[in-house]
C-alpha cells in the first residue's frame, strides 16, 4: 500500500497546509481588527503574517513535490522490476518446459530461439540501466569527439527498420539536410538515444505505421531531430511526466518498454552541444 499511503499523505499535507493558511489569514484579519488604532503592532502584523502564510504555502508545496518524486521512483522501480522479471520468468518457463516435457526437435529449437530473444531483451535492459546511470553522472566527456549526426540517424533508421521488420514507407525521412552536421559527443550514446526515439515511435504507432523523421537546424548551434508518429499521442497533462514514468502517458498505460530509454534519451541532449 505504499502508493495509497502516499496519496493519503499528499491529501493530508494539502489539507493541513490549507487549514494553517486559513488560520493564518484569520489571525491576520483579527490582528488588523484588534490593532487598527495602534500603528506599530498593525504594521508588524501586516508584514509578519503574509510571511508566515508564504512559508506555509512553500512548505506544503515542497512536501507534496517530495511525495510525488517518491511516487515516480516507485513507478520507475515497478518498471525495472517488470522489465527484468518478465524475460527471466519466460526463460525459466521454457527451461522448465524443456526439462519436464517430451518435445520434438522443432519445438526445442523454437524454445531455444525464444530464450535467446529473452536473453537479448534482458541484456538490453541491463545496458539501458547502466547507460542511464552514466548519463546521469554527466557522461564520459573525455571520450567525446565530433560525430556525424546525419549518419547516426541514418544508421539507426535502417537498424529500426531491420529489427522491427518495417517497410521503407513505415519509417522514412521527411527532410534530411544535405550538409554534414557535426555534434560533439559520444557516437554510442547518441545512437542509443536516437534508436530509443525510433523504437518508441514504432511501439506507439499501432497497426498502421507512418513515422516521419526530420533533422532540423533552426540556428547555427542547434540541431533538432523530429520523429513524428501517427499513434495515440500523449495528453498535454502527461507530457511533463513521460520521461519520469515507465509508460508514455495514460493512453499507452504500461505498454511495451520500460521508460529507461526515454529517461536516457531525455537526459542526453542536456549534456550535449553541437
Amino acid at each position: 500500500m505504499r502508493i495509497t499511503r502516499r496519496t493519503k499523505a499528499i491529501a493530508f499535507f494539502i489539507a493541513l497546509g490549507a487549514c494553517l493558511v486559513a488560520l493564518a489569514i484569520a489571525l491576520n484579519v483579527g490582528w488588523m481588527i484588534f490593532n487598527w488604532r495602534q500603528a506599530a503592532p498593525l504594521v508588524l502584523g501586516i508584514i509578519l503574517f503574509p510571511l508566515l502564510i508564504a512559508g506555509l504555502v512553500m512548505n506544503t508545496i515542497f512536501l507534496v513535490r517530495e511525495i510525488r518524486r517518491n511516487e515516480q521512483q516507485d513507478s520507475f522501480l515497478n518498471a525495472i522490476t517488470h522489465e527484468l522479471k518478465t524475460p527471466i520468468a519466460s526463460i525459466r518457463l521454457y527451461l522448465e518446459t524443456l526439462e519436464s516435457r517430451p518435445l520434438v526437435e522443432a519445438q526445442r529449437r523454437d524454445f531455444y530461439h525464444i530464450m535467446l530473444e529473452d536473453t537479448d531483451r534482458l541484456l538490453g535492459t541491463v545496458e539501458q540501466v547502466l547507460k542511464a546511470s552514466q548519463v546521469r553522472q554527466g557522461s564520459l566527456r573525455q571520450s567525446w569527439q565530433g560525430v556525424n549526426f546525419n549518419e547516426i540517424v541514418s544508421d539507426m533508421l535502417e537498424l529500426t527498420r531491420l529489427r522491427q521488420h518495417l517497410s521503407s514507407s513505415a519509417l522514412h525521412w521527411g527532410s534530411k539536410p544535405s550538409d554534414e552536421i557535426t555534434v560533439i559527443g559520444s557516437a554510442e550514446e547518441l545512437r542509443t538515444a536516437v534508436f530509443n526515439l525510433f523504437d518508441n515511435a514504432v511501439k506507439y504507432s499501432g497497426e498502421e505505421k507512418n513515422i516521419v523523421v526530420d533533422i532540423l537546424t533552426p540556428n547555427i548551434d542547434t540541431v533538432a531531430l523530429r520523429v513524428l508518429d501517427h499513434g495515440v499521442g500523449i495528453g498535454r497533462k502527461e507530457l511533463k511526466r513521460i520521461f519520469a514514468r515507465r509508460h508514455g502517458g495514460d493512453a499507452y498505460a504500461e505498454s511495451e518498454g520500460e521508460g529507461l530509454g526515454s529517461t536516457f534519451t531525455m537526459r542526453l541532449p542536456r549534456v550535449y552541444r553541437v
Binding site: M1, R2, T4, R5, N78, T81, H82, K85, T86, P87, I88, A89, S90, R92, L93, Y94, E96, T97, S100, R101, I114, E117, D118, Y252, A253, E254, S255, E256
Partner: protein, 246 residues
C-alpha cells in the same frame, strides 16, 4: 477438458503458458488486453473455467480487470500472474477479486498445481449444483458449510445463501469468513488474518483487510453500517459473532 483464458501482453510468456496448459489437457485462448478479456467474459459471456491475468497490461491493468469482473458478478476462478510480488501488491490483487496470486518468475509445477486447484474447486461447484439444483441448500451440518441465523455459507461452492438470495464469494472472501468463523467469539488481529489467511508474514499495511471486511459486511449484515455479526475490535481487528444478542 477445461477452457483457460490467458490475459498476457508478453507473447513469449503467453505462448509458453499455452503450451504447458495444453500439455495438461486444457484448451487455451490468449488475449493481450484486459478490455478484450472483459468483452469476452462479461459482454459476450464466453464460458471459461479459469482466468490467468497479468497485472501490467496495456490499457486497463489487471487489478481493474479483476475488479470489473467481480462487479459484473463474474466469479470465474482468477489467478493473477505478475512481476509485482510485494506484499502490498499481493493484497491489492486479492482485494480486487483475485482467487490466487503468483509472482514472476514462477515455478511451472506450482503454477500448474494452483490452476488445477482452482479448476477442481470450480468443478466441485459445478457437480454439486447440477446434482442438487442451483437453489438447493447445502447440508448445514456438513463440515464445509456454516449456518448462522437465516444464512448458510457454503464453503465448497463459495456461496452465501440468505433466504432465496445467493451471493457468490471469491476464494479469498470465503477463506477469510472461514477463519473468522473458526475463531467465532474471539477477537482476531489484522496481523493474524494476514498471516493465516493470506500467508503474508512481512510488514504489510494491514488496512487492506478493512476493505475485505466492508465487502463481507455488505453480504452478511442487514445494516452494514451497524454490524451485528462482524464487529470491529478497536485497535486490534475483528470479531465474528454467529449469534449476536438481539
Amino acid at each position: 477438458m477445461s477452457r483457460i483464458l490467458i490475459v498476457e501482453d508478453e507473447m513469449h510468456l503467453a505462448q509458453g503458458l499455452r503450451f504447458n496448459f495444453e500439455a495438461e489437457g486444457h484448451s487455451v485462448d490468449i488475449t493481450e488486453r484486459g478490455e478484450d478479456a472483459l468483452t469476452r467474459l462479461v459482454k459476450n459471456r464466453e464460458d471459461f473455467d479459469a482466468l490467468v491475468l497479468d497485472v501490467m497490461l496495456p490499457g486497463k491493468d489487471g487489478f481493474s480487470v479483476a475488479r470489473e469482473l467481480r462487479e459484473a458478478k463474474n466469479y470465474i476462478p482468477l489467478l493473477m500472474l505478475t512481476a509485482r510480488g510485494r506484499p502490498e501488491d499481493v493484497l491489492k490483487g486479492f482485494e480486487s477479486g483475485a482467487d490466487d496470486y503468483l509472482a514472476k518468475p514462477f515455478n511451472l509445477a506450482i503454477l500448474i498445481a494452483r490452476i488445477e486447484g482452482l479448476l477442481r474447486r470450480k468443478n466441485w461447484s459445478r457437480i454439486t449444483n447440477s446434482a442438487t439444483g442451483d437453489h438447493a441448500r447445502p447440508d448445514a451440518d456438513s463440515q464445509d458449510s456454516f449456518r448462522f441465523d437465516d444464512k448458510i455459507i457454503d464453503f465448497q461452492n463459495l456461496q452465501l445463501r440468505s433466504g432465496s438470495n445467493i451471493v457468490q464469494l471469491t476464494v479469498m472472501e470465503s477463506d477469510l469468513l472461514r477463519y473468522l468463523i473458526r475463531n467465532a467469539g474471539h477477537p482476531v488481529s489484522r496481523k493474524a488474518i494476514l498471516q493465516e489467511v493470506w500467508n503474508l508474514h512481512q510488514d504489510t499495511d494491514t488496512r487492506a483487510i478493512d476493505n475485505f471486511i466492508v465487502r463481507l459486511r455488505r453480504y452478511i449484515e442487514p445494516k452494514p453500517s451497524k454490524p451485528r455479526y462482524l464487529l470491529t475490535v478497536r485497535g486490534l481487528g475483528y470479531r465474528f459473532l454467529s449469534n449476536p444478542e438481539h
